[in-house]
Amino acid sequence: MSMTVGRSALAIFVVLLIVVGVGGYYIDPDPDSGFDPEAGYDDGYDDGYDDGLAEVPPDTDGDGVPDEFDACPTVAGLPEYGGCLKPPKITVVSDVGGRGDLSFNDMAFKGGEEAETDFGVEMIEIISSTEDDYVPNLRLGALDPDVVLIVGVGYLLTDAIIQVATDFPDKDFAVIDGFAPGMPNVMSILYEEHKGSAMVGALGALLAAEYDYPYIGGVFGIEIPVLWKFEIGYKWGVNWAMQWYEDTYGTPAPGIGATPMKERVLYTYTGTFSDITKGYLAAVPMYEQGAVAVYNIAGPLGLGINDAVNELAEAQGLDSGPPFWIGVDANQDWINPGFVVASMMKRVDRGVYLATQLVIEGTFRDVVEEYGGIVVLGVGTEVSGVSISGISVSTLADLDEFIAMGARAEELTGTTILPGTPSEIRAAVEAMRNAVPDWIWDAIDELAQEIADGTAEVPECSFGCDIDSYRDIYG
């Protein structure tokens, strides 16, 4: 009896395995994928593996160019890349997190998508799930012969980029926020976050003065030197604003002005760039203690901050701040119109786009050599004579571009992300901006001007900086 049971169980299992194996082989779940089991398996690589395909590609119109490359993209004004047999690829390797943060990573992919349209390249996204994945993921891109540029998105990938770039001297690499000077094939793209953070810090502090709040807040991600630039810039901005208020009106600012200098900014490093729940948990006590606005310096954690604001808004029946939050990287004003007072835009997209453009134009290594490997994008910066701004505070004019980013995210996920129609969002953001008194916006413009012409010097605390000495001053 038991023998029969055992035998039949095994028989059923074997049959199941065979059925699924064969079925899996012959049922093509995606008819567009071109997967044809009869013809063999083409993995798209010319890597010496026998995939069962004839080596001579078909050429029906007889123009000497294989069919699959007839539609080879040509870019006006640019030399054909490598004879343009295949569209060149760029790989964008993101840190833990990846798409969907509506800020840092999404901005990188946005830049890659724009490069796809303009230069005919194909972007491949690779998302790391742990720190151990950086090297193999970068290597994965480097091993693909069609890949011309590998972009590492995030400071934490720096060491991995240096290692892989040494192993693959023929490939070009770019690392956003990384610091890898002196390598011929690595472009480190840095931003002047301290300047932008100073502007939103001043904005937050003046809002606190206007609405009589004692604090402003900041939710930070993993404590990396790049974030120190944000932190010190932000705190410096608060103090600039307090000084400006006193100079202009002759009295200390109300609300936040009465708070001791070192305690004006409630902040914490959450140790994550992906767990939005930490953003929520950190933001709740900040608002509770009287922060007028919380600055999001942790990518997707802004969505957690947004939840905390929404909860307050629902409880108090508000349809516009205060309380506010301040967006980062992208223009995040559209995420919750009326409650995101402004965003510190860090144009990661322009960095990725620039690197791709230089590779396609063939000037990548010249530019790397010219700048010693470090390209800085910031307020009024230029690269090889072309001006590229990398840092700014969001304005109404930027909004449409980023509402489109939300629409794109909706398309990808198939769920609602935009909080209303584009025109509704625009109207709500405009109404909120008008509700904030003009003198505040004027003060921010004044600071922007001072930063641009160099009268105001925002301290930059980055790699190897003694952060504690700054914290002794600013809290």
Binding site: G6, V135, I224, G464
Partner: protein
């Protein structure tokens, strides 16, 4: 067929069946979301074992798993559910950094000292749970889960305040050049030899010494062990100590033997879950130290090959984690073993 071959086959059969079940459920998952499982698995296994470079990376991923598996396997041999590898590993990593990154020693000696420190700190961290078990009868699953989390927050605290890399708050001080294992290629370093040697040493300890016999007897047949006068307290202490040393070595291997960072991040991201994955590895390796080596190579291959599946087919690389889970669940069922036994009976 010879009895010896049969007994080997019999012990290998359940993991093989469990792996088949895991891959099968994984294939169903892929099919149900419109991915092609054949392409997926071809990409996965070609990516993990298809070339020498792939082997290097896969072995690098499997190195820490071999020793975290030992922690669980030795525990199981003695009849204890020692799931504390996670916490010991964190502590071991901190120990490796304390000596490998903060103390200057001559080359050679430095490497030995840093490795020993990793193992020792891991071993020390095993003491509280062992003592709780010995004197208060606290179940080890409960206490080790608590100690894992205490270690997690404690090591984060250490990284922030005591073993910090000045100027780079996101990580601890990296191991100095003198405390790094030589790179063999890719991410693979010489630490794998130390790890394998450790596994073999544990094999000899368990199967060829009196102490190991006592330990196994306590696990296989507690009543017989009691009659034979085996000291259970000694067995518990020994088991936890070996577990701690092994997991400490795993933590050390991620610091002293893993380019390019040679350190631990303030998220513990390069350590997280390696201890728990070790449980699966140990189970597939039939709780045998040598079996753990082979099982770890399989798991390491999955961990590395997953990215190729994502690159070529679009299946999220983390799917291999789900396959691991299914394999472990399947291995929890002793009925699998029974089916295999019946098949053998049928054959004869």
């Amino acid at each position: 067929m010879s009895e010896r071959l049969w007994s080997t086959l019999r012990s290998v059969a359940p993991p093989v069946v469990a792996i088949a079940v895991g891959l099968f459920v994984g294939a169903l998952l892929m099919l149900s979301f419109g991915f092609d499982p054949v392409r997926g698995y071809v990409a996965l296994f070609r990516g993990s074992y298809g070339s020498p470079e792939a082997w290097m990376e896969s072995l690098a991923f499997s190195t820490p798993l071999m020793v975290t598996a030992i922690t669980f396997a030795v525990g199981m041999s003695a009849g204890l559910f020692n799931i504390c590898a996670e916490g010991h590993m964190y502590m071991g990593a901190a120990g490796a950094i304390a000596v490998g990154g903060m103390v200057s020693l001559p080359p050679g000696l430095h490497l030995v000292a840093a490795t020993a420190a990793a193992m020792l700190v891991g071993g020390l961290w095993a003491l509280p749970a062992a003592l709780l078990k010995m004197w208060r009868g606290v179940h080890e699953v409960v206490s080790t889960i608590m100690f894992n989390w205490i270690a997690f927050w404690f090591v984060l605290y250490l990284i922030r305040f005591h073993i910090t890399d000045p100027g780079r708050a996101e990580r601890a001080t990296p191991a100095m050049i003198t405390a790094r294992y030589p790179v063999l290629g890719g991410s693979l370093t010489g630490v794998i030899f130390v790890v394998i040697a450790f596994c073999v040493a544990i094999y000899f300890l368990l199967w060829h010494t009196g102490l190991g016999y006592e330990l196994r007897l306590a696990g296989d047949n507690p009543d017989a062990a009691r009659y034979a006068g085996v000291s259970f307290r000694r067995v518990i202490l020994l088991t936890f100590l070996i577990g701690g040393l092994a997991a400490g070595l795993a933590g050390g291997s991620q610091i002293l033997g893993r380019p390019p960072s040679w350190t631990v991040y303030a998220t513990l991201g390069n350590l997280l879950n390696l201890g728990f994955q070790g449980i699966g590895v140990a189970l597939i390796g039939r709780n045998h130290p040598i079996g753990a080596i082979f099982a770890a190579v399989f798991f390491g291959g999955l961990a590395h090959g997953g990215r190729f599946m994502e690159y070529e087919v679009g299946v999220s690389a983390e799917m291999v984690g789900a396959i691991n889970g299914i394999i472990v669940i399947a291995l929890a069922l002793p009925e699998i073993l029974r089916i295999v036994k019946r098949v053998r009976a049928v054959k004869e």
